[in-house]
């Protein structure tokens, strides 16, 4: 075992060990996508792969305190563009824990039935995870699930107009001083002429109009043509 590698807890259930991230497995014995399982001090952890999860990549890349990028354990959060649930599962480890002992609530919205097929399966094993089949833009169809504003919101939707979807979601559902994370895929914006830096610069300008931009994290290397923006609602 790597005894001399630096271990640093980012939260009760997320651990940074050298350059790898681990989260306490809320569903012990089960790996979601073949990630490695390992015990630290007798507690089973799942490896959180930064090549598969943009949130993990951002946690490793950020120049600020990575624990500020995570929501408070036991809170309610909104995740738009849930995908097949890789990031969601680790977020659930952090937010809810086994049997939802921390009583967190993770609203995971995605448009694709194929993704929801995996998410509903995941949700059955992980109480606290609420999968929603719906369009991130059509908040009317799922917004009633969030009676209060949330303190943490993540968006990864890879469709044109990502920034508008994000700012609109922030206005509707993020509380004051809440943290919003936007994973932006440059290739999804329909600017054939615009280069990647231009797309990101335009996004920064648009975000800064109404939000406080805390950090622009470049994910090149983990996920090319992607950047993650961290904002705080004023």
């Amino acid at each position: 075992m790597a005894k001399n590698r630096r271990m640093r807890p980012l939260s009760d259930s997320v651990l940074l060990e050298g350059r790898s991230l681990w989260s306490v497995n809320a569903n012990p014995g089960v790996a979601i996508r073949g990630e490695s399982l390992r015990k630290f001090r007798g507690v089973e952890h799942r490896r959180w792969d930064p090549n598969r999860s943009k949130l993990a990549a951002a946690l490793l890349r950020t120049r600020n305190d990575p624990s500020d990028l995570l929501p408070q354990a036991g809170s309610t959060v909104l995740y738009l563009g849930a995908g097949h649930g890789t990031t969601i599962s680790h977020l659930h480890d952090h937010l809810c824990g086994s049997g939802n002992q921390k009583s967190g609530r993770l609203i995971a919205v995605d448009l694709a039935p194929r993704c929801l097929r995996d998410l509903t399966y995941l949700a059955e094993q992980r109480p606290g995870l609420v999968p929603v089949l719906g369009d991130a833009r059509k908040f009317e169809t799922w917004g009633v699930l969030l009676p209060r504003k949330v303190n943490w919101l993540f968006q990864d939707v890879a469709q044109a107009g990502q920034v508008e979807i994000f700012t609109s979601a922030v206005r509707r559902f993020l509380s004051k001083d809440g943290i919003g994370l936007l994973s932006l895929k440059a290739a999804s914006e329909r600017h054939r002429e615009a280069s990647e830096p231009d797309v990101f610069a335009a996004a920064i300008a648009q975000l800064s109009q109404e939000l406080e931009l805390i950090e622009h994290i470049n994910l090149t290397g983990f996920e090319d043509q992607h950047a993650l923006f961290v904002v705080r609602r004023r």
């Binding site: 609530r105 039935p113 929801l116 097929r117 998410l119 509903t120 949700a123 059955e124 609420v130 999968p131 929603v132 089949l133 719906g134 908040f139 009317e140 169809t141 799922w142 917004g143 009633v144 699930l145 969030l146 009676p147 209060r148 609109s168 206005r171 509707r172 559902f173």
Partner: protein, 335 residues
């Protein structure tokens, strides 16, 4: 004045954020009842509480929870138990949505089409392997004219000698060992079965495409119709594409090369499959492709938006146009 509503309660709020009236339902709902309420709201309908308030305040503008433009006010909160129910109901709704997605003919056609493409590629390479294999043992046999029947005939014989007799060629000088023959024969059986499987797949594609895209199928045949539909990611998207895109669907590589490097643009994508294009001389293929793509666009729009399906006489008119182009440009333009 607004009528704010969520799945569990509703309130009437004025411009100052004062709550004028409130209808809350503290009943112990069943998961099923919550699911129905969530579904109503997703479909843009009012919750039962909101309907009561709408009668009392006909001037209040209904606005669902989460909308912008509402003044700050004390939003009625569901109980912990109600939140738990909403989460359960949401999971049920998601599962239902996933199950219903199998009804989408675009998705079904996509699987059929991808399966058939995959199998065709596999079949061709396995067949080539079989012919090379047999050719090693029977060097005097030629398979140029009857490639397709080799697998079927070989799968029905008991030995290579029998096959050589049937082909009327010299028997093998070197015989395969029994285990080798078993493997070779098994391979032939598999290739022959692939043929049947391919026919089944194509039959299924024809039937689905004729139901899903009747006009496009009548115009260019169900197999090409299915391909175009899958390439466009669905019927409604095919109907919304400009016909210039329909013309080069399936030739994306050449098209983006053209944009990037200025190489010659592609004149046809999948529609090249159609004999009007592939059996026409090279110099008019672009013209016919352009005309045919516009007709396919019209046909796709008829199918997607519920028009009167195209009939054979409509196809005849298009064919007449093809003939007109063929006669007008019977010789290549001199450069």
């Amino acid at each position: 004045m607004w009528l704010w509503y969520s799945w569990h309660s509703a309130a009437v709020v004025n411009e100052e954020g004062d709550v004028l009236d409130i209808e809350s339902n503290d009943a112990r709902f069943s998961v099923h009842a919550v699911k129905q309420r969530l579904q109503r709201i997703a479909n843009g309908l009012l919750s039962p509480e909101a309907e009561i308030l709408a009668e009392r305040f006909p001037d209040a503008k209904p606005i669902v929870h989460g909308s912008e433009g509402l003044p700050e006010f004390d939003v009625p909160q569901p109980t912990e138990q109600q939140i738990g129910l909403a989460d359960e109901a949401s999971l049920l709704l998601a599962k239902e949505g996933v199950a219903i997605s199998a009804a989408d003919p675009d998705r079904r056609l996509e699987h059929l089409s991808r399966a058939s493409e995959e199998l065709r590629t596999l079949h061709l390479s396995m067949e080539a392997q079989l012919i090379e294999w047999v050719g090693l043992f029977l060097p005097s046999a030629r398979f140029e004219t009857n490639r397709g029947s080799v697998a079927g005939r070989l799968s029905e014989v008991a030995s290579l000698t029998e096959f050589a007799t049937a082909l009327e060629v010299d028997d093998a000088h070197e015989q395969p060992t029994p285990s080798e023959w078993k493997a070779l024969h098994g391979w032939a059986v598999m290739v022959a079965n692939q043929r049947r499987q391919l026919d089944q797949l194509e039959h299924a594609i024809r039937v689905s495409a004729q139901a899903h895209l009747p006009s496009v199928s009548t115009l260019v045949g169900p197999l090409l119709a299915a391909r175009l539909c899958v390439e466009a990611h669905g019927r409604s998207r095919l109907a919304r594409l400009p016909s210039g895109t329909v013309q080069v669907l399936g030739a994306e590589k050449a098209f983006f090369n053209h944009l990037r490097n200025g190489s010659a643009p592609p004149k046809h994508g999948h529609i090249f499959m159609h004999p009007w294009i592939s059996r026409s001389p090279r110099w008019i293929r672009g013209k016919i492709a352009r005309m045919l793509a516009s007709k396919i666009s019209i046909a796709a729009r008829i199918d997607a938006f519920g028009g009167t399906p195209m009939k054979q006489e409509d196809v005849d008119k298009v064919e007449a146009k093809v003939e007109a182009i063929r006669t007008e440009f019977s010789t290549p333009k001199r450069r």
